[in-house]
Amino acid sequence: MISLRAKLSFWLASSLIVLLVLQWSIASVVIQQLVEAQLVDRLSQDAESLLSGIDFTAQQPDMLDTARVSGVYQRPFSGHYYVIRTTMQAEYSRSLWDSRLHVPEVEPGDQTLLRVRGPEKQPLLVAAHGYRKQGQSVTVAVAEDLTAINAGVRQFRLIHGVISFVILLALLGLQYYIVTHALRPLHKIRTDMRRLESGEIERIDAQRAPLEITPLIAELNRLLSTMSRKTRRSREALGNLAHALKTQLALLGQVAAHPQLNASPDLQTALRDTGENMRRIVERELKRARLLGAALPGKRVDLQHEIAALVKTLQMMYADKQIVMDWQVADDACYDGDQEDMLELLGNLLDNACKWCRQEMRLTVEGGEDLRLMVEDDGPGCEPDELGELTRRGFRLDESKPGSGLGLAIVKDIVDSYGGTIAFLSSPDLHGLRVEVQLPHAPRTSRPMNKKMAP
């Protein structure tokens, strides 16, 4: 699993850092070079003016007329020094005091740059120029202390670095916002998907989605609607088939009951039994085929509402029996499968309970991790060794009451198609049968993510 967000953030942040470090380094180097070039320029000018003060013809011990030399070269350890060398002698500025600078001789017309340690171990930049004056080769080297300049450059670097860092932070913040903002539609779609699964919405809104994922959403919506249309159509077709077959079977039943057949009761029984078997097959198989199971994202079923309607219906159906129907649905109970499946499941369970109860029937629906349905009645219940037989197709433990014996078998089919469990017990309160059904929630492909992950 890759996260678009993490990937985008990582690469954007990395490139941003590299870029800023690079520009900072280049700026530092360039500024250093610029400052030094200026310094060298100034040193050259100083060298030129020193050169003009040199006179070999005066026959003085000093070659240089010190009166013409700038004051900074006179003050000891001022940071500005010079050395004038000929082949015979060397003359040092007064500022050097009694320390000496070692400068190589430079050919006339050449220039050499040196970095040496000065009298107080300061770093010096020395520009040595070679000249020819009055027929003599002379090397004029002018040096300047780099401490102040270096400090200036360092300060510049520091300030520049701090500003770059602040800019980096600001850009990272901006980038975080941009990434989050750009990916917000995706997050919305993820939320929509969850709502789709839980049946709160029927399709994903492509209106505000970015251009890049609109085709994806459109395709998903198309698939969803095709699927639900196909399901609806096949359900309708199955319903019509069942309808047609059952009408014909009703006719067959009438034929079997025709007075002309009274003479041959064997034939009558055979006809009736065949019809009854066909009816069971149609009922069971078509109901089974109509089951949706947890395949499609369903519409959220309002359990309270559906159960109320169902109980009302059963009260009408068993109006003569005056059954006390007690039902309770926990607030957190929710079901996100197919509504018709749920009605079929509950309808058959409650119908069975109503059929067998003396006068009381109870339904409890509990939520939580799984959906739990419990149906109890105060009827005769069931022998422990017969409990397993209850869901067998067409099996009727008591032939004395009308019914196809299919109800609980259909319930079992529905429970199986949802991957749930069903258990038949005896009711401790009502002393009749107690049926417990447990339905797991539809497996979520996208469980709600950690809160911290969601933007």
């Binding site: 319903g239 069942a242 309808h243 047609a244 077959l245 059952k246 009408t247 079977l249 009703a250 006719l251 067959l252 039943g253 009438q254 009951a257 019809g275 009816r279 009922e283 109901k287 109509r290 309607a309 169902l310 009302k312 219906t313 009408m316 159906m317 109006a319 003569d320 509504q339 018709e340 009605l343 079929e344 509950l346 309808g347 058959n348 009308p402």
Partner: protein, 222 residues
């Protein structure tokens, strides 16, 4: 008891009609939703048996139209649409019972009998009044003295109507309407003949004549 049977299947409809007639009901058959709705509003039926998949107008619409106009005609839905969803919709539309196809005729008759009794506020079970018991399966009556009489079709229908409406003044016209179907030759004078036959079997004081008005069965007769 006069029933309206609404069933569009050309073979099943007449079949059920015959079976219901044999069970002692006057039955009109309608094969179309629109006609059925009009008939149910005009004729004084005691109960309607309604298929849901009808040409012209779906059975559920027919039923809700009746109910929205205040027609309280008891309705038993007879359909091959057997899902719980459809059952709930049927009852919500105002049905009194719901029988799934295919069905056993005995079951349909039992349900019709139960709905008829319920609609008259009479307890379910065998129809009995003042020691007189009417066996709906054999169409025989047992009097308070223990004597048993086999009834003819019309006698049975008439007595059952009386027993379902004890203590109520019933005009000859009303009795005729509920005992005969549309196709019968209705002559209200015939009712007098049948009332007299019933008096012979059950004793003279059970059915009293209100001159110019009609008959009263049982209590309130005095």
């Amino acid at each position: 008891m006069r029933l309206l049977l609404v069933e569009d299947d050309p073979a099943l409809g007449p079949g059920i009609q015959t079976a219901l007639q044999q069970a002692g009901y006057a039955v009109d058959l309608s094969v179309d939703g629109i006609d059925a709705e009009a008939q149910g509003d005009i004729e004084p039926y005691d109960l309607a048996i309604l298929d849901l998949g009808l040409p012209g107008r779906p059975g559920l619409s027919v039923l809700s139209n009746w109910r929205s106009r205040g027609n309280r005609l008891p309705v038993v839905i007879l359909t091959a649409r057997g899902s719980w969803q459809e059952k709930i919709e049927g009852f919500q539309a105002g049905a009194d019972d719901y029988v799934g196809k295919p069905f056993q005729m005995e079951e349909l008759l039992a349900r019709i009998g139960a709905v008829l009794k319920r609609s008259q506020g009479i307890n379910p079970g065998p129809l009995a009044y003042a020691g007189i018991a009417l066996d709906e399966a054999t169409q025989a009556v047992t009097t308070a003295s223990g004597a048993q009489w086999q009834l003819t079709g019309t006698e049975y229908r008439l007595l059952r109507y009386f027993m379902l409406h004890p203590g109520r003044l019933l005009s000859k016209t009303e009795l005729t309407e509920h005992v005969y179907d549309n196709d019968s030759d209705k002559d209200s004078n015939v009712i007098e003949v049948y009332v007299n036959r019933l008096r012979n079997k059950l004793g003279g004081d059970l059915i009293t004549t209100r001159r110019g008005q009609g008959y009263v069965f049982g209590a309130g007769a005095a």
